[in-house]
Symmetry: C2
Amino acid sequence: MQLGILYGISVGTGDPELITVKGLRILQAADIVTFPQGIGNKPGVAQQIISQWLKPQQITIPLNFPYVRDQDILESAWQKAAEIVGKYLRQSKNVAFACEGDVSFYSTFTYLAATLKKLYPEAVIETIPGVCSPTAAASELQIPLTVRDERLTILPAIYTMTELETALDSAEVVVLLKVSSVYQQVWQILKKRGLLESSWVVEKATCRDRKIYQNLQSHPHLQLSYFSLLLIRVLE
Amino acid sequence: MQLGILYGISVGTGDPELITVKGLRILQAADIVTFPQGIGNKPGVAQQIISQWLKPQQITIPLNFPYVRDQDILESAWQKAAEIVGKYLRQSKNVAFACEGDVSFYSTFTYLAATLKKLYPEAVIETIPGVCSPTAAASELQIPLTVRDERLTILPAIYTMTELETALDSAEVVVLLKVSSVYQQVWQILKKRGLLESSWVVEKATCRDRKIYQNLQSHPHLQLSYFSLLLIRVLE
């Protein structure tokens, strides 16, 4: 019996209409729809995005991807998720995995796909690209992310401020993802370089409760949520 | 009389189904649909992408954005395009501008929007984000673009190989857009650094005639078209 297909579907950054036509078509045709489990009893971001698009007969399964750094815990969670998906693929059912943002861009799907490939080397996995947060944030800010010959550097999480300084020295546009935990240190560097007025924070881009902060001069101590991004235009 | 709205719609990288649901809805509701004029008598990329989605009653207008570096010629073309769009906005018609890739990511739309704002400061401009080429290419290659704490640098066009070396020194993933004119020089640097086997070329990502080159060891002299991208994973 032929295995079903695992589809990694990028569902965009928050606005349910930012899923692609292709992603929506494949999502709605899947027998089983999976997504990262939310924290506590709350639905996860991807789950919220797709809820309006699902058909009544579709089976939905939240998969647990814990927010920890312990490699053993992570690998055990990936293994469990891949076994759940594999069970349905063996029944020739197609499984969609809904992934916030883009499926290739700092995504949980990478681990699910890699683990599944270890369990079932013959499994067919297809990914559908989508809207990622840097371009979504630029649209919200009504500014271009990049133009002409501008170099763009994206830092997913900052461990040393030296990395930020290097990025600011060698790119015209720098985007810091998930900036909440280091915001105050970043703010000091932007102040030193005179970049506070050409920097923007976007929290939960394209979600209903999204927030924008511009002219960061007056915002040295923002309390930000997890999905917060900082966009710096170095040349302005 | 109220001005119409100018919508900058990201239509993705080539596959017509990679437009977002929101982009498609707004595209199909627009009175006037504009896009960058193709070269010679050929339809442009954005025009090809949207052709299957247009309604018979929609008026389509190609706008001329010449492929030159001369600032005077460019500004005169932007002015003319903005005047054409402005004429319809003054008639309270909504105008869509279809833009390949994402509208904030190295896009012609930036110049159209800026010029229109000079002519009509009161004009309302809305942009809808979409799929950009780096994530689309990663999906085609069936590899993640970025995971974990990987830093990503995107170079839109390379003027010195020093810039490439800097990027390779300070990021785990480097994407070179429009790599065709510098491919051979880039290849030499990748060879020197032992990165040819963790580099990929994607030509016309998600288009029907897209091509993929992996293991670049055997491809020192590729003749590539304009929409070619090189993805380098530095750590592998």
